[in-house]
Symmetry: C2
Amino acid sequence: RPSSQPHRRSAVSDAAAPAPAISPCGACKFLRRKCMSGCVFASHFSSDQGAAKFAAVHKVFGASNVSKLLTHVPVNRRNDAVVTICYEAQARLSDPVYGCVSTILALQHQVGSLQRELSMVQTQLMNTRIAIANALQNGRHQHL
Amino acid sequence: RPSSQPHRRSAVSDAAAPAPAISPCGACKFLRRKCMSGCVFASHFSSDQGAAKFAAVHKVFGASNVSKLLTHVPVNRRNDAVVTICYEAQARLSDPVYGCVSTILALQHQVGSLQRELSMVQTQLMNTRIAIANALQNGRHQHL
């Protein structure tokens, strides 16, 4: 029977009964360790699907590094931190050379391309307006 | 005297002379270990400035994870991998919640903003051209 309270308890009463089936969080399940009370991963890696998600995080960052990082992040920001860490880990496994930096490079390319196109269309619009102004000016002169 | 050849040798001959001053790469300097021949970090973390750069990588990813990752990347792609890993590590230390994902989010926002502006200017250009076409059409009718 574990000395500390797990983060999730089954609904079964534990008074004098055998220890309830403890479901460790996905991270602790992956790490094959007891999921202790206050486990920093527990709220973010579910028991059923969190292990696969944690595997990528563990492979890329290491459980200990992520645990340290999360404990230095305010509790209300940890979910965002976990989401971005999982994203980075998955991206690095998919593309070991560039990781999620490939997305940054692609977006920078897209921004450059859009800026050039915008500038071109703005120039066309300006030229068209100048042409109209000139045409109106000439029309007025013809009527004078 | 080290049993293996360091990745960098001084120009001093080592025949029966005292071991040359070995300058470990920045990663091995940071890890306070001997820089062995074929060290996967040696080409990417210089002895003089690489240690500070490696500190961030070590803190975020861990030396062992990065070493494993690099050995699975073809030699001619490793420099790009190190550059992106260093970038991600620095970004995560600067912004523990979002890391370099903050750059992705900012770029996505910029792309959205540029797309909306482009669409607006394209509409203005189209409307201006339609107005010109209508004006020309009316002008012709007046001359008939």
